[in-house]
Subunit: 501 residues, 4 copies
């Protein structure tokens, strides 16, 4: 799910204010933009959807929404903030009656954090109500939006998901599923969609399967979710992944699978394994935790170093650090402690606080670091801003040597499929050589996992250059779909309305 950008980032006053990396080691991570969940036929549909979204909260913390259908009317609750903050009370769940529900969590971008962009989006069609939630990003969304406005469509959000709603509303096909498939035939990019009408729960995944979507079952009722961890939290059984290019229709009659488009090879996004998916999820048959440990072990094989301790950058670097430590025989130690009580965070009340930066969320465990040669392990480098700070933290605590190891290849290209990446010129690896990166970060050595190395950690023999097994353009520049908006004129179209709420 992407948005018509409202403000060029240079003009966004909040941008410079929130110096990326000032307070948070997580500030320089990539961000997934969404998670989706749906269930059909369960008496506690809304409560279960809230739990599923809670388990998917790592995919988006900006906002959450649930739409249910109870036989006559649809019911919607959409809120800025965490699922646990807004969907955990009995009164909210009671406002969402019905046995069919879909839900959505959304990542906090610096752009328009406004309620009308929170999903699921809803439309009253002549055939009845229709709600849709989307994880991914359309690469021709702006182009389609411009065309539809010319035909008289009125948009209620700046989300590209609404394009799908309008395409369905305007289709002349007689049945809703046909109208939905016609809309899918028009859009390009990455999508994992869940939708409900007054009869069905529908799931769909883009032709390459870039974004994930799984099928589960609880007490005989079908579920759709971005990750298996959303099934685990409710004790649901994993059935299978939705396949690339597949549309599944769940109704009173059971589940039906459609393949309306020409078959293409699967190419899931490799970043789900590196950072986005929860470590306890199983994505396309692989344990994310085990894959991350394998990336660390592969990195130890490629870039061993003589050192005293392996220290992970918490929390996402932990599994790879365990893999590195087990492969290398160097002890794993918690050299950085995360403060669990961050509240709404310190809003830079004074210069004093600003200068302390990252220490508010993390502190060095000096007894582990002092006088030691450290292998510092992280999963990726984006801009490099927090890497500088964490290396400095190690040195301030008396580390003798700091060897920085990254359990994925250098990120040199932006994403257009639902990952929030900065512009290319802000990606450290796009503009610096390895040695320049090391010098910028200030470590004694620096090594990334190789592209073939990450494919080996995935259980492959290496990257198949003719038919790459994963969507990996951030490392390789090999974009798997057309980029219509990026190439075309729609690129800079701004929304005409600014609204606070």
């Amino acid at each position: 799910m992407d948005e018509v950008s409202d403000l060029p980032s240079d003009l966004d006053p909040s941008y410079s204010a929130s110096d990326p990396g000032a307070f948070d080691l997580d500030a320089d991570r990539l961000r997934e933009e969404c998670g989706v969940f749906g269930i059909f036929g369960h008496p506690d549909a809304a409560a279960i959807t809230a739990l599923g979204l809670h388990a998917l909260q790592h995919r988006g913390q900006e906002a959450a929404g649930i739409v249910t259908f109870e036989g006559t009317r649809f019911h919607s609750e959409r809120r800025l903030g965490l699922v646990g903050d807004h969907f955990s009370s009995a009164s909210t769940i009671e406002r969402l009656p019905g046995s069919v529900a879909i839900g959505h969590v959304r990542y906090s971008t610096t752009g328009e954090t406004i309620l009308r962009n929170v999903q699921p989006l809803f439309a009253e069609l002549s055939s009845g109500g229709f709600a849709v939630a989307h994880n991914g990003n359309l690469t021709n969304g702006l182009t389609l939006r411009r065309d539809l406005v010319r035909e008289g469509a009125i948009y209620q959000s700046t989300s590209d998901t609404e394009v799908i709603l309008h395409l369905v509303a305007r289709s002349r096909k007689p049945r809703l599923v046909q109208r939905f498939i016609e809309a899918l035939g028009t859009i390009e990019g990455a999508y994992a969609l869940v939708a409900i009408s007054n009869k069905k729960l529908i799931g769909a995944r883009d032709p390459l399967g870039i974004r994930p979507l799984v099928i589960g079952q609880l007490d005989g009722h079908y579920i759709l979710a971005s990750e298996t961890c959303a099934l685990d939290i409710i004790g649901a059984r994993f059935v299978r992944d939705v396949e690339n290019g597949e549309v599944v229709i769940i109704s009173e009659k059971g589940i039906e699978s459609l393949r309306p488009f020409p078959q293409r090879p699967m190419r899931p996004c490799i970043f789900e394994y590196i950072y986005f998916a929860r470590p306890d999820s199983i994505v396309q048959g692989r344990s994310v935790y085990a894959v991350r440990k394998a990336m660390g072990a592969e990195l130890a094989r490629e870039s061993m170093v003589d050192a005293d301790v392996v220290v992970p950058v918490p929390d996402s670097g932990v599994p790879a650090a365990l893999g590195f430590a087990q492969q290398s025989g160097i002890p794993f130690e918690l050299g950085i402690i995360r403060n669990h009580y961050v509240g709404r965070t310190f809003i830079q009340p004074t210069q004093t606080v600003r200068e302390l930066g990252v220490r508010l969320k993390h502190s060095v465990n000096r007894s582990v670091v002092e006088g030691k040669r450290i292998v510092l392990l992280d999963d990726s480098i984006v801009r490099g801003t927090t890497s500088v700070k964490i290396v400095q933290m190690m040195r301030d605590a008396g580390a003798r040597e700091v060897h920085f190891r990254i359990s994925s290849p250098p990120i040199s290209y932006p994403d257009y499929y639902g990952i929030d990446t900065p512009e290319r010129e802000k990606l450290l690896a796009a503009t610096h050589s390895l040695e320049e990166m090391r010098a910028y970060i200030g470590s004694d050595s620096l090594a990334f996992l190789s592209v073939d190395g990450i494919y080996r950690a995935m259980g492959e023999n290496g990257r198949d250059p003719l038919r790459p097994q994963f969507t990996d353009h951030c490392f390789t520049g090999d974009y798997p779909t057309a980029l219509t908006d990026v190439m075309g004129e729609a690129k800079n179209q701004l929304s005409l309305l600014a609204e606070a709420s």
Copy 2:
């Protein structure tokens, strides 16, 4: 502005809870549904619009909104609650830059009090942005909505005002004003509209001029407003009323008047004079305060009684009571005191409080009432529920006789032009004879002003039955336009979406 009713009132849980009249002498009044304001070319457009809406607050207390345009983008703030609560801070006004603005206040119905229904409504058209605010009600709104949904339109609100937006968006005319006029040609009912595009401020009044709209000027900048009191608060000069069926276009080039439809005789709503308009407003050339006093004086001529004091039901009965007292020579006294500190009101915490009912907002001034023969003066009776209570209050305080006098005729028919009236069977005068009403209310005598009497108070010789000078169907059943939705199938169509916010 009307809405697709969400819940049959029988099913509305809040309805029975808020016993009409339990706590408020105003609970049995008719409600106006909206007020509008617009200004073109003033550097403080948003602040002035907020003030104008504040002066129009009596026309709607549920919600308020302002949309401005600053040369590139439109800016919108829409809030539930009073103007003074949400549009009085510098930070809000700063979020509404630009020299063109329109605003809207909205009445609190028991139905969907939700943000997406708050006006002005906005759409991004291919020609640029367009925002509209509406006072009135379309009598074919539901019918048009159904037709537009069939053609693929997606609605963001349940307001009939959005119908106008979609008609404009879908028009194939080349210029915005042409598209707007085409939309006006399609709708039926009562409307006073203000709208802005990226070039113009537009005002329009329905062919009969049912709802009011005036033109003012401040420092050379044109203003549109529902009433002259919104001009007075900002020190603006009254220019003239917008005429019935007129469309005015205000732009950098000045003001332009269009008459796109066949000319019809003016027939403004008589209730503006009886209750809705503020007493200090001048409506179609008449001082509302003076008219109300004249209604009281006319009533004294028609239905004199021997008594000791004239007591108004505060606050709306005061001018008529002054007129009655001056005409009759009976002293005017404040026999009922209004408590100014009602806060958010007592939500019936206990049975104890419930039984005390109306006393929370009003109290009897026993020293005026005890042992006296009272002429109790009110402006209208709708259901009669509070009339019962107020007569009882007089008796409890020791009144010797209570003569109830109403400064308008009996209300026997519901409204469909933007006044919130109960269903016909709940109107006391629709189902009771005069004597039955008196017995129900419990007064010693009861008299209403006659229909010809109210026309005399307006300065006419009486009602012209062939060409009535005012819209007065609530008294006469003579509806001045077609009632397409009421007659047709669209009547009971409900919105499919329930949303809390």
Copy 3:
């Protein structure tokens, strides 16, 4: 109830910001500082107290509190804001169980609006709990406070009411009532007190009866309240006024009256009649509404003028204006309309709004004023700031002549008994002659009611200079008690703690 002033007004940042009179015709009134209520033995004690406080809301809008006792524990709710905002929900009332309750409303000063100053105040004594609520002001409160701190007392508030608590806590008398009376023997000034222990409801009035306190009865249960309007709202019967210097003890055994101090003549505060008390209250046997009308009539006798209309400054000037009109034969008209929807008020968002000032709350009814000779009637002048504005409003609306008439004598001396008056040099009448005042205000003529005139309106033959019947030092400088704090060193003692909440 008074407070240790925290900030010299020159240093108070909120002071200059809220230009007195900028937005409110009421901004230049004197302010009463409190109202009290208590009930013994009623099953709905808290709900009834909430209603009583609601009826007394005009005596204090800053904060409200209720303490109840249910046989074992005391329960307290104290809130900033209106009674109806905080004490109207079933959940709040349920947190206040028990059949004995006292409550308090408090006026909003510019000083410390903080929760720990909200009454009733509570202390756990060795004999059990004790709660007290106070209307009035101690003239030796600061002196006593300083002495008690020297002995080791720790204060939780800056309220002088807490002095009474500490005096009771430290008394060596064996029984609570004895300890309370010992405390009363130590304090000087004006007080109407209600208090509860685990056995009794206690009421006390200062030796001169400066502040009012009445006894009522509801279903056999005794009530204490500042005014009779608090009895009327709950349908309670008025029994009698508490007498000056009387202590009443209400318990299971009924009511007991003590006279622990030497008898002195009654001398109630005359401002209760002029402005503070609600018009429907009966204070010491006199109808406040009738007295105010008599003041207006007396003023017409003293200072008649040839004019077209009598216009009251709403709302407190209305009864006197009716009296003036009836006496003079000049018609009474509503020349100024009050806007009922002021919300939290406009916080001066822009210069534009600031300049419009008072119009946000009141508007001129031009049809009444234009071309007329006006008698403008108000109840008092304090600083004169709003008088200037309202005369100007009349002139802007086209008044031909403006004759300003004040239904009380000039205020030349500050109060120290619970009325919030500015320092003497800010009182217009303390520093200007009558003609200077007229010139400052800008009216064509100006007249005040004479001191003897106001005594005549009260039913007296005039002021008895040897034994004045009322506390009237604001007009005469004749303070009826010692002013220990004002004369002594305690005058400028500040609280050492600043706390936001």
Copy 4:
């Protein structure tokens, strides 16, 4: 810091509602009750104190407060909630001017979570203001309170810390430090205190040094803090621990150390090492992280088992699990994943959610657990309620064997020195044999670290039974001070006032 318990836990309605362990693996931990911080002479005193409290947040999450002194007045901000939520904005810090500050964080008990109990507490003494913050608990607090009330003291809180304030206020000594020391001579129990007057910052630690307190220095300015992690966050230098029985006086003249009481051997609380202190703190010269690893290693030596993986209960079990894994050679794996986005947590909206219990905050990493023999490592067992759930989680995820290992001895006795422990009969180890505990918890085996083992992990040869090196009564029943309140009549005294806020 302890409180007069308001409600016997059987009567506390919130108690049964929040089933301990229902949602949180941390629900069965012991709770520290407070952390303190103070700084003298620094221009950013409040901002630095806020940061110090943020680093001490693990010692108390209920509430936080800061009091500053700026030469004339004291300034106080006290709030319910996290430090980062309330003390992180520039506006709050600006309300706390001055170069001297103390602060406090407080643990969330089920009892009275009310603002008047939030520390630091303040009193205006005859010598000037005095504020105090307390970590610990007085064992004669209730007895002293009762005596002081008999003498006329009025309490503003139910905190035993206020006893100290009253003792200081009532002391007849001429100088404040003398009065403070006189108060310390009267109290019994555990305390680490920080206090400020208008001249000094004072720190004090009880005669046995039960609760920790350290001295630091930043840019030459002295600091007092509960733990060294509060020095690290601001880059301050660790100077030394305050010694047991020591009073330190920090003023313009530097630091002064007083030893007013007879010398006794140090006996710090061993639970600081097991659970309370942050792993990166150095407590009495020992790295908490290193001690915890040593406890795990010692446990591996005492209670080895043949297994496939060591899985910590996050987060507090992690260091001991690393020690166990390194000693035993069994791989350390993250078998339980913590959800970082818990928001305000799910308030049991439905039965559905209730039954899912602990999964909302933690999930099993099935790929690590399935088919494996697990050593499950936790730091302590209190009631055992969550231990049951976590063992069941392992079994549900397919664990072949679950060997539960606890890195401290069984807890058989309650604490009275500032740790929140349930009554003795609710402590699992107080009423069950080891085998009964294993059976209750459902693990295949269960072992605790021995008492001598934990002393070995601390670097001792074992516990010295004649002069135990640590306060360890929770394991041994050997209470190091008199327990006056527990033994005496004051035990069940309840506060007479219930107040919501």
